[in-house]
Chain length 362, copies 2
Amino acid sequence: MLPNKPTIKDVAERAGCGIATVSRVLNNSGPASVASRVRVLAAAEELGFKFNEFGRSLKSQRSKTIGVLVPTLSNPVFADAVQGIQQAAAVHGYDVILTCADYDQMTEQKALATLLAKQVDGVVLTVSSPENSKVLQVLNDNNIPHCLIFNQPTDSGISAVGVDNVEAARIVGQKLFEFGHLNAAFVAVQFAKSDRSADRYKGFAEIYAKHNLNQPTLLEVDYAPGDLELALIDLFEKSPSTTALFASNDMLALACIRALRSLGKSVPEDISVVGFDGIAVADLVHPKLATIATPCHDMGSKAAQLLVKALQKNEKPPAGVISLPFEFRCGESLSIAAKKNSDGQAATRPSDLSATQMQPNK
Amino acid sequence: MLPNKPTIKDVAERAGCGIATVSRVLNNSGPASVASRVRVLAAAEELGFKFNEFGRSLKSQRSKTIGVLVPTLSNPVFADAVQGIQQAAAVHGYDVILTCADYDQMTEQKALATLLAKQVDGVVLTVSSPENSKVLQVLNDNNIPHCLIFNQPTDSGISAVGVDNVEAARIVGQKLFEFGHLNAAFVAVQFAKSDRSADRYKGFAEIYAKHNLNQPTLLEVDYAPGDLELALIDLFEKSPSTTALFASNDMLALACIRALRSLGKSVPEDISVVGFDGIAVADLVHPKLATIATPCHDMGSKAAQLLVKALQKNEKPPAGVISLPFEFRCGESLSIAAKKNSDGQAATRPSDLSATQMQPNK
DNA sequence: CCACCCTGTGGAAACGTTTCCACTTTAGCC
DNA sequence: GGCTAAAGTGGAAACGTTTCCACAGGGTGG
């Protein structure tokens, strides 16, 4: 019925020449007379010949495939980056095998194992903690070229593309300071599991230290429903003069705005909120989210380019962190700090805050 | 330096047996004495032996890889689905090669070609229009098992997993009707390119026809900045009695809310807005978005399961559309229709609409 | 006690490529 | 016109695996 897929042998037979010649013609990898050239090309065309990549890969030990390992696609940041990787890879004839590790070290290792089994030529990845990462260890041991994204490893022997989280957070800190926010908090999910959160807190705190202000409160929350509200209530009890929140990512920032609203506080009138990442929806919501816009897509494509270029030269991507430009995007969620008196009530809006806290709207 | 990757031959040598025995032991694919079993296992362990998938695939003509073709990862809907596919595939030892086609038929075909070149065993995909799709044609011609997601093909010979868009849209229509929205509009991006948008409009319009009301206005917009605002201004001029918008997806719904705000209309007081998809942020924004929550993740994993199961039995996934349950989520963006007088002004808020239209807030 | 059948075994072919190498042929040059 | 060099060519090995097959040995049933 359906003729079995034609092989190079079939083409050779039809073109009346040896398989070596076919290979040379089709790959432009060696001399061939014009005559055989046209015969082979014609034969291949007629038969609808396509190379079998297995045979190719077996011989060359190259899969023309790069592995991608990210925590999740649920965060648009990673989704965008993956798309960037995919596009850049496609341009150079590489495919992308995708794995997600869900911020879990065990899963990370398993995912990497399957990538290795598929003999990916290289890997673009984000790990939960680049120092002491088993995954990076394995990649090194197996001599697999790789490039980190989002992570900013302190170990300079490794190749990475990202944004300067510390510097970006400094800018957020500076802006908040300029807007009069003398007491701020930093909100993060799973702070311990993310080097990025740590860097952001670091840069943020630096600015407050520089101005001899209180260190920003570190608010670590989890995804349990209501947890954020409780944490915020606690925050305002302990630090009633807090006027701004810096969330470690945009999704969390949006969640903060919602939680604040349910506590009867409005953004930015009572509290300013700044996010990080610059995801698309940040611009669609009201108030527009103030955030650091990061080039996630470019991060992915840059890393892929770096990696592919290195693979083609049969080497590793250049060591060192490439920092891509970011931009502070001043959305409506950030405004001048409301004047507060000592017990944290906004002077301009003398309504009883503790009362509104007790009576969340619905 | 680094010892070349051990092959099955090395294991055989070390275990003092033939390669056939090693293969049988390691794959549990044939008889082997206990003695050789332990020797082989030990040898493999000591050498850190890993199968070379190229050799395997070459022999078996199976790649244990499934291809994924979606329009984009920027829409969280697809990102979630891809993650579902990936997870389900991983469970069964399959990997995922990802390609994005950006709603473009040319790109779709190219992407599929690279998937085929990589000899994927099957494909999970979303195409722009499942009828007359070249991509599906190619898949059929090449006898590649495949399963659609999101699409709801009318051709019942094909396997697909999705939600019943028509029915879901009927429910939206019914809800809007019950809330007193007698004049509504349907907003879509690239209506012509999406069978899903068409289905949604169909179900929506059906309800309005059933109640002998005006057909919902069809508002086709594009992504050009400001286009949505213009379209809405036009809409309210021509159909001032419109009290509700049904957007073909959540991102668009959020954009609508923003555009409406910039036109001086508030949601839901002046206009109600309903989205479609149920993306995560829909619940974080204010007003919470009323939407149809669809199980994107499950859609992906279900499709992958179907496909993998079929592949293991060396057949195609069962023909027919599997409709997954969805849920109408009534967010704050939907409320009782404001009473309007004939020229479209909300009776309860007699501010001059045309004036506020001219003076968008910022 | 012999024929038989299982179990365990390893050699070898096959999968589709690429590429080395050795063999034509042709052209170029004195 | 002979020599060499280059260009064109195909055979065959190699990549690492699976699996068919043939064969050895030892138990069983007649």
